[in-house]
Subunit: 210 residues, 3 copies
């Protein structure tokens, strides 16, 4: 039993670090397109990967945020920034479909983890769903603010919507008696699937027309 539990924790930690890594590399590539220097690339890696969790932790009162408390997270993102800076032609040559799938997996993971943590801190269900969404998309929003752009998530695609949908499924799953682990799994699959299907089929939310 203990052995299995240890394994579960290892899987969760590994998944969390993997999601952080994906978001950090994407952030670094985005920063390099904006012609930043090495330090700028490292900072954007950090913020794109960990900014959503930091905002969530500040809002629910979980200070210092996890990304500050545990040195492995900032170190991982800085290393990702440096590696992306050095090997950017390799990263830029990755197939877009692979990046989409990895990014959707990271989004699902962050959204589910966000709703879990908010619930643990006594946040009520609807707002916990919002916190899951913030965890998933907050880093990208701050990244875009720093790059002086309107955040992409406000303009295009089913992205934040997928994060919110995953968080919604987690909460509903628990209401209907699923175990936390099962609810997280179903919610993550829901977020991932909606994101990938929406992106490959070109689904959009309605837009305000001029």
């Amino acid at each position: 039993m203990t052995r299995i539990k240890l394994k579960t924790e290892t899987v969760v930690l590994a998944a969390d670090l993997a999601g952080t890594l994906v978001f950090a590399i994407e952030g670094a590539l985005s920063a390099m397109r904006s012609n930043l220097d090495l330090l700028g690339v490292m900072v954007i890696s950090f913020i794109a990967a960990l900014g959503g969790g930091v905002i969530r932790d500040l809002l629910i009162g979980a200070t210092p945020p996890n990304a500050i408390r545990d040195w492995r997270y900032p170190v991982l993102t800085f290393c990702a920034g440096i590696l992306t800076f050095v090997f950017h032609s390799t990263f830029q040559a990755l197939p877009p479909m692979l990046i989409l799938v990895l990014d959707a997996a990271g989004l699902a993971l962050f959204a589910v983890a966000g709703v879990e943590k908010a619930t643990q801190f006594g946040i009520r269900p609807f707002v916990a769903m919002l916190m899951g969404t913030v965890t998933g998309v907050g880093g990208g929003v701050v990244r875009d603010i720093l790059l002086a752009r309107v955040p992409a998530v406000l303009q295009v695609d089913i992205y934040a919507t997928a994060a919110f949908f995953g968080a919604f499924v987690v909460v509903v799953g628990r209401r209907f008696g699923l175990s936390p682990g099962a609810a997280a799994l179903v919610g993550g699959i829901a977020c991932f699937s909606l994101r990938v299907v929406a992106a490959t089929h070109g689904w959009h939310l309605p837009r305000a027309d001029g």
Copy 2:
């Protein structure tokens, strides 16, 4: 006595919800002019209405912020965003004078509520005035940052100045022995009047010239 107190609380809650609604609709209209999608409009509604209070609560250490703790506030702003999105031609046809008056009322309400809450949390008078100002204008500032614009409040008009003036009157009124309710009322009227008079008369602060 209890009955009267209940009524007062109902009035305060109704006023707070009304102010939130006005700011949310204005935020949604602003987001639609920037061509965001439905989700973007809902997010900007939320932030324009509740961002000032969230910043205040983070700064004075009142976490989780009210806008996160009480699900009615986010739900109200999201509904306002959706309604504005659907019926935007109706909202855009509202007379500018009506919007000015409603907005000034919302500003006065938020500024007064902000100085009250900061004072309750032991913040000293001058900084409490700043917190009142932040409550009134912070949402608009974050909205403009997300829309990649220099915040309007830094550039034009007597707006933050009116919020600060109202908060100042609240603090001074209390010093001179007014009851909290009376001080809030006088401060709110001061903020509202200065804002409306300044806007209709084209008053401006001096500006740096190139």
Copy 3:
């Protein structure tokens, strides 16, 4: 002994207020180049000088932040904003070398103070270095966000790098047994020297090329 301690505290407070003043004046000059009104100039003065410390305090859970708790800091920055607004031709005529030296001194002071405070709040060494860096450069980042610019610190020069280097020296100095005061002094000199030498010699970090 008490007398000497009092003197040390006075020196630290004076240095902190001097650093705040330098950053506030620089912020005001930057705001005036963006054509803001008087209030906008005052707000940018406040944020440029105190924003880094506020972000640090929010992240390490030290609420309310010092800049909010102690009214002298906001009052100082607002006065600096007003004075710069009125006498801006005088300030703009200051020799660039003087501004560089004062700014580097302010940066060194903030970086060292930031790492000290984070350490006091139980933050571990590597993240404490990041908090020192944030204290030094955070105000400038928020200033640039409000002025709808990509933060200068992400794009040019050895600036955040100097702050991080100073914070790094503080932590290493303590590990090797220096007293807190001596470590702070050596770290501050390291940050100041690297910043001034890098600026006068045109040192840059490598940049992503298009």
